[in-house]
Symmetry: C3
Subunit: 456 residues, 3 copies
């Protein structure tokens, strides 16, 4: 095995942030839910960039402890006041209707209407995002200011939705690498017009997949665009045999704001993806946060359930639930920025670079240091106070390449960025001082217990 070319740089384009933002903006207006045409329309848009396979799972399909629900679609919805003015209009914001609201058309008193309205009293200018997938009902969402101004009159409520047998829809893009070992990249596709959560994750993975097309990688990459929870569960239920191949994984969401970045470890705690992400974050972002695994969050909940215990972490900018924009109308296109999207993209690419290129090499001159000077690899004038620094990477790689330490091991011990260690190893390999690159050992699929105890 050669150490491949620099995976990282090949993937970075100058305008990547703008391009991710543009894709996010394109899918932002669509009204998505865990089923329905909004998901299909979103996947069609993603499919204009990458060769997406669309899967339809019929309503009623049993997926582990769950059942695929009826399909929900909505065409229009409003509240009209006594004079016939639309005071709430689905066409203006799809957050106005609670997701999975059943159809309704009737006149209601203010008192009855209030029982079907969600607001955020502490954020009175924002519309909340609400769902009720498994308890049948209907509701509108509005700002608390508007709610407080409602007059005591008769209102017309209208939701032109349908909740019927149909399908749950998800999309997959698969990039075949040199091996069948897989890297899973997963983004939820079920939220309506929330820009950061998760138009950004969908858009970033779409353009990452596009960039990967035609490039050589060591791992195969599986991109999954599925509804949260029930979508991931459906995929796992239908692809249980494939989960054995997943060696690494990332759930990607909320990657367009300026917070964090935040990485949440997999349940295993120190899987290769955990080490790679933590390494990259520590060297690139002094403000980054690394969270231990907890069983609340995004679809890592399912991937990391004890029966699978896959090495899948979560990458975000701000942590979900910790910012005022979370699950409100303030999570709009102004909240996300191309520069942050570019940073997030680069971070993920750098972690992939570690995963792809981490390898164990062996010094061909293990006894004493090789003479770097005669190969032109060393400052020629000894005694210079500054020559030490520029030679440290070479010395570390040679000292630690005893067949037991991978390049990431060395980068961690030497406190050097992986890319520096990796470039140095290539240079030393070219001069015959390193040999026998073999992929770094990836943990086998252990029981959750054995692994997680490492960070107890």
């Amino acid at each position: 095995m050669d150490i491949p070319g620099d995976f990282g740089e090949a993937f970075i384009d100058q305008d990547i942030g703008d391009r991710i933002w543009a894709v996010a903006a394109k899918i932002f207006p669509i009204c998505r839910s865990i089923t329905g045409d909004g998901v299909r329309q979103t996947l069609r848009e993603i499919g204009t960039h990458i060769a997406l396979d669309i899967h339809e799972v019929p309503t009623g399909t049993a997926v582990f402890d769950w059942t695929v629900p009826r399909e929900w679609n909505i065409r229009d919805a409003y509240i009209k006041d006594g004079r016939g003015n639309k005071i709430v209009d689905f066409a203006q914001s799809n957050l106005h209707v609670m997701s999975y609201s059943i159809p309704v058309r009737k006149h209601v008193s203010l008192a009855e209407l209030k029982q079907h309205i969600h607001t955020l009293p502490e954020q009175p200018d924002l519309i909340p995002y609400r769902t009720s997938y498994y308890a049948e009902g209907w509701a509108f969402c509005m700002t608390h200011h508007q709610f407080q101004g409602l007059r005591d009159e008769t209102y017309e409520v209208f939701i032109d939705s349908s909740l019927e047998g149909g399908h749950l829809t998800y999309g997959e893009f698969f990039h075949q690498g040199e091996t069948d070992e897989e890297f899973l990249l997963s983004a939820h596709v079920c939220h309506p017009s929330l820009a950061n959560d998760n138009c950004t994750g969908l858009a970033l993975l779409t353009l990452l997949g596009k960039k990967m097309t035609g490039l050589r990688t060591r791992f195969s990459y599986r991109f999954l665009f599925a509804p949260g929870t029930i979508g991931a569960i459906s995929w796992l239920a239908r692809n249980e045999d494939k989960t054995q191949r997943i060696r690494h994984g990332l759930v990607v969401s909320m990657v367009g704001d300026g917070g964090g970045p935040t990485y949440k470890r997999s349940r295993r705690g120190s899987a290769a993806i955990d080490r790679a992400m933590v390494h990259v974050l520590r060297h690139s972002f002094p403000t980054s946060m690394v969270l231990d695994f907890s069983p609340y969050g995004y679809d890592e909940r399912q991937y990391c359930s004890p029966g699978f215990n896959l090495p899948v972490g979560l990458i975000q900018r701000s942590q979900f639930g910790k910012i005022p924009q979370y699950h409100t109308s303030a999570d709009n296109l102004e909240f996300i920025r191309p520069e942050y999207l570019a940073q997030s993209y680069r971070l993920i690419v750098e972690a992939l670079d570690v995963i792809e290129n981490d390898a164990i090499l062996r010094s061909t001159m293990p006894k004493c240091e090789p003479q770097l000077g005669k190969r032109g690899l060393y400052g020629a004038v000894g005694g210079d106070k500054n020559s030490a620094a520029i030679n440290m990477a070479m010395l570390w790689v040679l000292n630690q390449s005893d067949g037991m330490h991978s390049l990431l091991d060395i980068a961690e011990r030497a406190c050097l960025p992986f890319a520096v260690v990796s470039r140095t190893a290539k240079l030393l390999q070219k001069h015959g001082l390193l040999a026998g690159a073999t992929p770094a050992i990836v943990d086998p699929m252990p029981s959750g217990a054995a692994q997680s105890s490492l960070i107890r």
Copy 2:
């Protein structure tokens, strides 16, 4: 195995603090030592609450490297000045006489008297507590202020004591549990009128044993009320075969003041009792201190000697030797308070709850999360920012119940109180989502070396 009922709550009575204080007050005036009728009288009082077995070990009995000493009894003692006034009187405080003082009746000069007096120059208002079990002699203890006021005259000293062949006495109360595995609870019974050290430990264990009578427990409980050092050594020497059954243990002393609480780990460092006590303290007492094992202290010195290495820790409020009242006349009934005694009792009961109920369960739905909502276990409206918190315990228990993690493991990882995790597990078990509860694995009896190296 079922997860038993809530061990903790069954044991707590509202007036428990007052009742422990009352028992402590009853035995406070008795003049105890490592042998003699004071010990017997104390054990008789304890025996009015629980079915105590009294054991008498003859003087001269070899117990490991030690020999049971002669029995000491005292009836009266005083110092009279030149005019016949009692300036020191045993009847007023039994601390006035050094424990194990031999009989004496003579007239002495001030100079000679001073060679037989102990004071505390830095605490001039307090009478010290002194003993001389193994070096024959006699002495009085008084305040330093009194000592400084002694005039140069002839004094009469009188100690009506006896030091003769007899017995060493200790008491045992045994509560049979469902298994023969034992939990040892030990309190020293050898100190005279020192309220906190250890009328409180004796009284607390007495009422804990009383409460336990008739209740079902998993472990059998052995309560030992024995003189410090020589008493514990005598018990160990006479019951060496039983020590194999001791799976957990606590030495209880000084549990009536408002300091700490202080837990000193067993020599093993991370035995189940260590984990349980540390867990309970961290969740209940922000001011608590956890000390690593050291070979100085109470009878954990003997239980944790290398030839036994039993998993026995020490629970106290203030740490011994660290407070001005320690081993002085200021350790009186005003120094101990019902509220602190109730706290200490509750702490111990909570730790016993962990030990009794720690179990390993298995999720019956290990692949993906079970659908809590359809069982009424989950907030029905998604997207709510606050619903996460109330569901965390369920998610943690389900995620970690892979057959390898006990409830205490889960409580530690989730930073949740054991009682919350335990209640949650019961709820999930009732809904069929957890099965197969087996007792948490307790460390076998390892060599001290192997275990203690864990916290080196």
Copy 3:
């Protein structure tokens, strides 16, 4: 095995600092390099104190990846200005000539001269130390102030040196101990008039070896006085079979200033020498620094190369490269002081004491505490608040001497100086309470990987 006498005290003389300083002062003026007569003259001086074996390795000898270079000697050198005044004179400071400068005698313009001059612009009053062992050339070193004052005229440059086939020279002193297991003590002999770096290391080891002569030690001691890098590599190449015997080692340099002390761990990270040095430093020097291994520094680079991975650390006062005097004319005899040399000597002797005397003993009374009082080993009056402290060492040693913990293990766990634990163990051994002293287990020669992962 007995616990030997106190290794430490036998080695300390009151005037040791002055005597080390005197030896350092004697060899300071000599112009050393990695080869040549300066090394031979230095070794002859050392040989007046200890029975030194001198080894000569011919130019051209292959030593691993390196080749022994031509031998360099220098007799005179100067720069004369236009009026014939010597403005730089080798006789005044051998730092004025770059080490390994080829012979030159010619007249040069200021412009050409400047291409052959090294200065320290940020330390304008100091002459730098420069070498060019493997790139042929010539150069002078001077203060930056002098450099700035050079007038535009013609200069005569003269270096009367030779660079020819010859030898590399190193010296060895061997002290036979009771076993053939070796302790390697190594100091570089290649620097010219730099007092701290490394006249001090050479002088300290010289007098340590002298003191050792005739004394009984458990380990055999090998003292190596060799040129840096190429000298250590030559020794390793010629003595590869002997490296199996090296159980401990220290590189000694820069031990005469008042900084630090600084200990750099071996590549293994927790070898016996690492534990011994860290223990001694923590108890003796609150200002000491302990550095993790890194592959830059002195000859520990070679000893700790992955093919050898010997347990060799580095002891210094100030850390190399971190002080302004480093590799300049300010590293002179005024910079080093007898008191610091005495401290450094004592530190090393204390570490040797640990290495020599660390042993595993077994309590002969493992069940309960032995009765110290009846042997006169314990304060006779119980209850005294202060008696605990003075008995702690005995209690720790007895409690931990279960056949698994060495005296150093006990000292570390008890936070007591090794010497206290060792003396206590001797006392207990004398009273029959400890038996069976066997040498502490020294790590076998592991692969670097397995060991170094311990401190990853």
